[in-house]
């Protein structure tokens, strides 16, 4: 299996309710940056959560396989699965303001995984954290190590979280809308930083976003989702040159062009929504809960 992460026919449903992911299959090769694109509710975040094992309690995996580094995570015991995920994957969360524990020092929040899960010595873990903080361009890393989250700005905190995600040299990182909560000027820096770090470390990236502009800057391939269904998977260049699925075309057309202030918004046409909704319903035919 060449893909580092391989999701096969993954279905996730509300407990006793409708499916949120409908037999999703996708691969992420070593070092690949795959964007997961779709409007809110399309299930893009759900895929990342299923991989990392942090689905909400109200939701369960009803079918499928998640192969990470050659093992099917869904067949592991919970404790083994946690360790496997902790050792090979990491998350860059959406909101840097809530993703750091307010009562713990930054240093400890970066080194804890290295020491507790991977068995590093504290000294090694601390020098590693310092190195990583420098890599994400944090001035005076030694001071930041001893700081509490409330002493840092949102952009700085996101840098800390990026450093923390890369610290254990994971081979897959799930970035869940990592720039959405930041203001526009900081967004660009953070995007550039993630791209830089990814290139330097050769980490595979699953990049969840609703912003096609972000995809064009960071990703090498993408999957378009609607209603928990993968509509199209392709390389980024092919996608922007000639999207195959009608919904993809409409989505691309709907991306605002900030260069022309007179241009109006182009929402996805009703007819396209109707067609794609029908496609989702089609996928549900013959599927029964449990």
């Amino acid at each position: 299996m060449s893909a580092f992460l391989s999701i096969r026919n993954l279905s996730v449903a509300l407990k006793g309710g409708p499916r949120l992911l409908r037999a999703v299959s996708l691969d992420v090769a070593v070092g690949e940056v795959r964007g997961l694109v779709g409007e809110s509710g399309a299930g893009k975040s759900m895929i990342g959560k299923a991989v990392l094992g942090i689905l909400p309690h109200s939701v369960e995996v009803v079918a499928g396989e998640i192969w990470l580094d050659g093992v099917d995570l869904l067949r592991l015991k919970p404790a083994e699965r946690r360790r496997k995920v902790g050792a090979t994957a990491a998350l860059i969360p959406q909101d840097p303001l809530t993703a750091l524990n307010p009562s713990r020092r930054i240093g400890r929040q970066i080194t804890d995984r290295l020491v507790d899960i991977l068995g590093w010595t504290r000294a090694d873990a601390e020098s590693r954290a310092l190195e990583l903080l420098g890599e994400v361009h944090i001035p005076d890393p030694a001071r930041v190590m001893h700081s509490y989250p409330h002493e840092l700005s949102g952009g700085m905190r996101q840098r800390v979280l990026i450093a923390s995600a890369f610290a254990a040299e994971p081979r897959l990182i799930v970035a869940d809308e990592p720039t959405t909560a930041l203001d526009v000027t900081v967004q660009k820096q953070i995007l550039r930083l993630i791209a830089q770090m990814q290139a330097r470390h050769g980490t595979a990236l699953l990049f969840v976003t609703h912003d096609l502009g972000v995809v064009s800057k960071v990703c090498s391939s993408l999957s378009v989702l609607y209603g928990g269904l993968v509509l199209e998977q392709t390389g980024v260049r092919d996608f922007f040159r000639a999207p195959q699925h009608p919904y993809s075309r409409a989505l691309l057309a709907a991306t605002p062009q900030y260069t022309d202030p007179m241009a109006g918004l182009n929402p996805v046409p009703e007819s396209v929504i109707a067609a794609v909704t029908e496609e989702v319903a089609q996928a549900d035919r013959g599927w029964r809960h449990g």
Binding site: L52, G53, I54, H57, A79, R82, R83, V85, G86, A87, A89, A90, L91, P93, Q94, D95, T98, A99, L100, N101, P102, S103, R104, Q109, D112, R113, D116, I117, Y148, H150, L161
Partner: protein
């Protein structure tokens, strides 16, 4: 900056105590009941009564009495107990350690039980155990401390007599101590024989005081933990490979404890108030028991002394909680 805050705090404490003293002073003189009448044998003449009134200054106006009392207090003289003819300050200070030790023991028991219930309930959330914990909390809360005292006396003093039901310590052992802080002293001197005797006396009254507080702590901390468990940093910690126990104790608990702490401060003052009845119930020789005797005997100076001390205790507890809060919450530390 910090110095200014401390000074301000001391000033407000002083004003509070002054206010309390005025209210108590007036109230116990306005309500019916005459301390002199309690002292004299039947058939005392009016002259005897007037003479005693003058001795204790009770023939003057309330305002005059208050300022005489206050000028004494400023010099460290809280007056003389009418009943025992000993200085109030000595009487009160000799009893204070007993009540402090009982209250602190109750607080510790409440935090241990409450913390255990909250953590277990969080760990097993969504199961029947969590439901059982909620029901237990509700029951513990709806029964006041003195009723728990009675229940405990029946259970562990009468039906299955494992604990002593009265007193602070076996009377023959009091000579072993050089301070009034028996419990602390027994620990410091490593005299676990004395410690055991103390605990077998103190455990039931402390538990009676602790049960309602334990229920409140359990409920609030569990609620607070539950909310914290949904936060992003807890989720992030899970992706690092940590299991449920670690996530609850290391990530959620330190943040969930803060709101509970404020409540413990308030509730602890209620607990100290509860010692009055509980000490009576268990014949425990503390301040509360003394307060009831003082009220029955209309021992005005003693009542004043005790109430002022209780008020001082409450403000000190609140101050300690505020300080602890600042230590535990890094966001307040530099403010």
């Amino acid at each position: 900056m910090i110095l200014r805050r401390v000074l301000l705090r001391l000033l407000t404490t002083l004003v509070t105590l002054l206010g309390v003293s005025v209210i108590v002073f007036v109230t116990i003189r306005v309500v019916p009941g005459d301390p002199i009448a309690m002292m004299l044998p039947p058939g005392a003449t009016d002259d005897d009564i007037d003479r005693l009134r003058r001795i204790y200054g009770l023939d003057r106006s309330i305002a005059e009495q208050y300022f005489i009392w206050l000028s004494g207090v400023v010099q460290g003289d809280f007056g003389t107990s009418i009943q025992t003819r000993q200085p109030v300050l000595n009487l009160v200070l000799r009893r204070l350690p007993a009540t402090l030790e009982l209250s602190i023991m109750a607080l510790v028991i409440a935090m241990v039980i409450g913390g255990f219930l909250a953590l277990t309930g969080t760990r097993l959330r969504g199961t029947r155990t969590e439901g059982a914990i909620d029901v237990t909390n509700g029951m513990a809360l709806s029964v006041p401390d003195f009723l728990w005292g009675l229940v405990l006396i029946l259970l562990f003093g009468v039906l299955w007599p494992v604990f002593h039901i009265s007193g602070r310590i076996s009377p023959n052992l009091t000579s072993e101590f050089s301070t009034s802080f028996y419990l602390f002293e027994s620990v410091f001197r490593l005299r676990f024989d004395l410690w055991l005797d103390l605990v077998s006396h103190m455990f039931m009254p402390a538990l009676a005081l602790a049960i309602p507080l334990a229920a409140i702590i359990g409920q609030l901390l569990k609620q607070s933990l539950k909310e914290t468990m949904h936060l992003d940093y807890v989720t992030l910690s899970r992706t690092k490979g940590y299991g449920e126990n670690h996530v609850i104790i290391r990530e959620a608990l330190p943040n969930a404890v803060l709101p509970t702490l404020t409540l413990i401060g308030v509730q602890f003052t209620f607990l100290i108030g509860g010692t009055v009845i509980i000490e009576r119930l268990f014949s425990y020789e503390g301040l509360g028991n003394m307060a009831i005797d003082a009220v029955i005997n209309r021992d005005l100076p003693l009542i004043q002394g005790i109430v002022i001390l209780f008020a001082l205790l409450f403000t000190v507890v609140n101050l300690l909680v505020d300080m602890l809060y600042a230590v535990l919450n890094p966001r307040l530390r530099h403010a």
